[in-house]
Point group: C2
Chain length 395, copies 2
């Protein structure tokens, strides 16, 4: 199999991650924070090491907190559903948001009447229109902004820092939530230096090369910390045992980590920690992904009958969406699988808003290819050749 579905989950994982999983399963698969014995304490140390590694790769500092959750989706639900929002509040989203943002937000809207607005788009380049942003924010000041860092459909890198700066110049205490599921570990240190993003979401099993079962968010500002501890502004969304303060029926959230209920998945924690270590030891950065992405784009651009949904050069990475004239997206994916052993994804990719701009309905969405650290030039050549043949069939 030529695996070009790394945006769904990176595969394979580094050898050291698989080895770490095996080692922990055999020797230390106990419940961190639930016992007072040494193995449980060692598991707690692993969790703390994992938090440090996450902060390191994000460029965060030690004043930041990392909240571990079972997935990025759970992290987004905890924030979007837990924050006290009502019909006086305006929440901006980018057109690139995933249903992990849009569905909780839509439900919150049904319940509270909050206002959802889209960040302005340049319909030519499909970029966030930074020039119109200032005007829009002045017209309807943002209380919350939810934006993905890298689109899971087109690989577009959103100008999160610019959006954040403009927003804060108008509304100092705007809450900025960035979904870094397709970005952390790929884009360098998103929280470095003067970033004032409040919450940065991550998924262990994607660009971080960990395994399923772990996600979370980084609390990156003092305001973000205070907000979660303020019972007038935030109500914990997932409730349960934390191994602490057991006799208290109320979920505590004096620190963000208090929100972590249920047994932590120590295997996934150890895997992520090891994966980040592997990245930082020479597998970090996006050079390979950038190179492979541009090779795909160049290859596809040369094929007659291929429509590409391309962000501008310099703001795209790892993911390419396209269609082939004469085929539905799912037909191309099926042929790639059955005749060429190439795994890609097709359809709407759980991103409901962007397709209005891509105008891809007639194809039933897009064919999406996505590369990872283990994708080879040879695989890309085979993929391009396959698309040439598929497109050629129709001509």
């Amino acid at each position: 199999m030529i695996y070009l579905d790394n945006a769904a989950t990176t595969f394979p994982k580094p050898q050291c991650v698989a080895e770490e999983v095996q080692a922990v399963l055999k020797k230390q698969c106990v419940n961190p924070g639930r016992g007072s014995y040494r193995a449980a304490a060692a598991a707690v140390e692993r969790v703390e090491m994992c938090r440090k590694n996450i902060l390191k790769i994000a460029g965060g500092n030690q004043a930041n907190s990392v909240v571990l959750t079972p997935s990025a989706t759970v992290a987004l639900n905890m924030l979007i559903m837990g924050l006290h929002l009502n019909d006086s509040h305006t929440v901006y989203v980018s057109a690139y948001e995933h249903n992990a943002v849009m569905r909780p937000l839509f439900q919150k809207q049904q319940q509270t009447g909050l206002h959802i607005r889209q960040l302005p788009m340049n319909t030519q380049t499909m970029e966030v229109d930074l020039e119109r942003l200032d005007y829009d924010f002045h017209q309807y000041p943002p209380d919350v902004i939810c934006m993905t860092h890298v689109s899971n459909v087109t690989g577009y890198i959103l100008p999160i820092h610019s959006v954040c700066r403009v927003a804060r110049s108008i509304q100092k205490n705007v809450i900025v939530i960035v979904d870094g599921s397709q970005a952390l570990g790929l884009l360098e240190e998103p929280l470095k230096e003067d970033s004032s993003i409040d919450y940065y979401i991550f998924a262990a099993h994607k660009t971080l090369y960990g395994i399923f079962g772990l996600g979370g968010f980084i609390c990156n500002t003092q305001y973000a910390h205070r907000l979660l501890a303020d019972t007038k502004k935030y109500t914990p969304y997932l409730c349960g045992g934390t191994g602490r303060d057991s006799l208290n029926l109320e979920m505590q959230c004096s620190t963000p980590e208090d929100l972590e209920c249920a047994s932590l998945d120590i295997v996934a924690v150890a895997a992520l920690s090891e994966a980040i270590h592997w990245k930082l030891e020479g597998n970090n950065g996006w050079a390979e992904e950038k190179n492979l992405t541009e090779k795909i784009i160049t290859g596809l651009q040369n094929i007659s009958g291929v429509t590409l949904y391309l962000p501008l050069e310099g703001c795209r990475i790892s993911i390419v969406s396209f269609n082939v004239k004469g085929y539905k997206a799912d037909e191309v994916a099926m042929i790639l699988d059955e005749d060429y052993g190439i795994a890609v994804r097709c359809g709407y990719h759980c991103a409901p808003l962007i397709h209005e701009f891509l105008k891809d309905r007639e194809y039933g969405g897009t064919v999406r290819v996505s590369v990872g650290k283990f994708t080879t030039d040879k695989e890309i050549i085979a993929f391009i050749k396959a698309i040439e043949e598929i497109a050629g069939e129709i001509l």
Copy 2:
């Protein structure tokens, strides 16, 4: 390490589970349901096999549904928080409930004014008082009952079927939720035959010998199925991408499985499937656990200065709570760890209500030992000897 904290998580896991984890990580760690290629389809088959195995070990039938979630805690939040309850509703809980039940319920009470009542207790035997049950249910008819199947503090097996029968004789459509986190795979086929329990919760990493990162619930009655699909009675609690119907902002729940959002943890799914297979191939039933539990009880009963918190014989399994005169619970746990290399848990065990009946506050909770399929007689003998020495120090 002598590991007697199996109620926190069973350890070690069967060899075949570790091998399955490794095999899936290496060969098939792709995102089920998110791609149309064969590896993704094979991952979907694994998920369906896992559902079948869960139903088999639960004694459920093929009309039941299995909803997979990242943990039992998430499953309980989805049910307790998602059901439309208000101040006209009465929810009964047993005194043995875990904070995974009590904290969501307490928060729901704060939000809605629902009424929480306790199932009557026989304070002598610490059993559910079945004689008084009928009276209580007539006085205050139950709309929902949440009860654990096996107490994570004392190992008490609750008479879930009797409670359910009495409740249904008074209120036919009472919603019965059983937390089987400490029970499924240990107690034989809880949903067999005429069980009319609606939702049965499980945790993969406990008595089922799977790994962290997976839990869920079985929808066991037609009413339970209908309820989740009825937007007037249930609102999906976790919202996100499901890989289906991507353009729809609203979470669908025409079938219970629609509630599964975010990437399924295929590694944990495969591990659970393999673990249940291992159980059904000759490692099922509670004979070993029963034997070991009674050995612990007999051993501790012979030691002067030990207070046991014992359910009656015949309704206790795997877990024993006790204290030693002259020591706080955490002191005993620390000595066991440091001087004997024995891992146990101490404190209140995330179960807030039961300690009023155990009257263990002066000890700071209880010392809890819990056995699993890999616990040996020799380990129990060493543990009993250790407690003899610890108790002897004081005399």
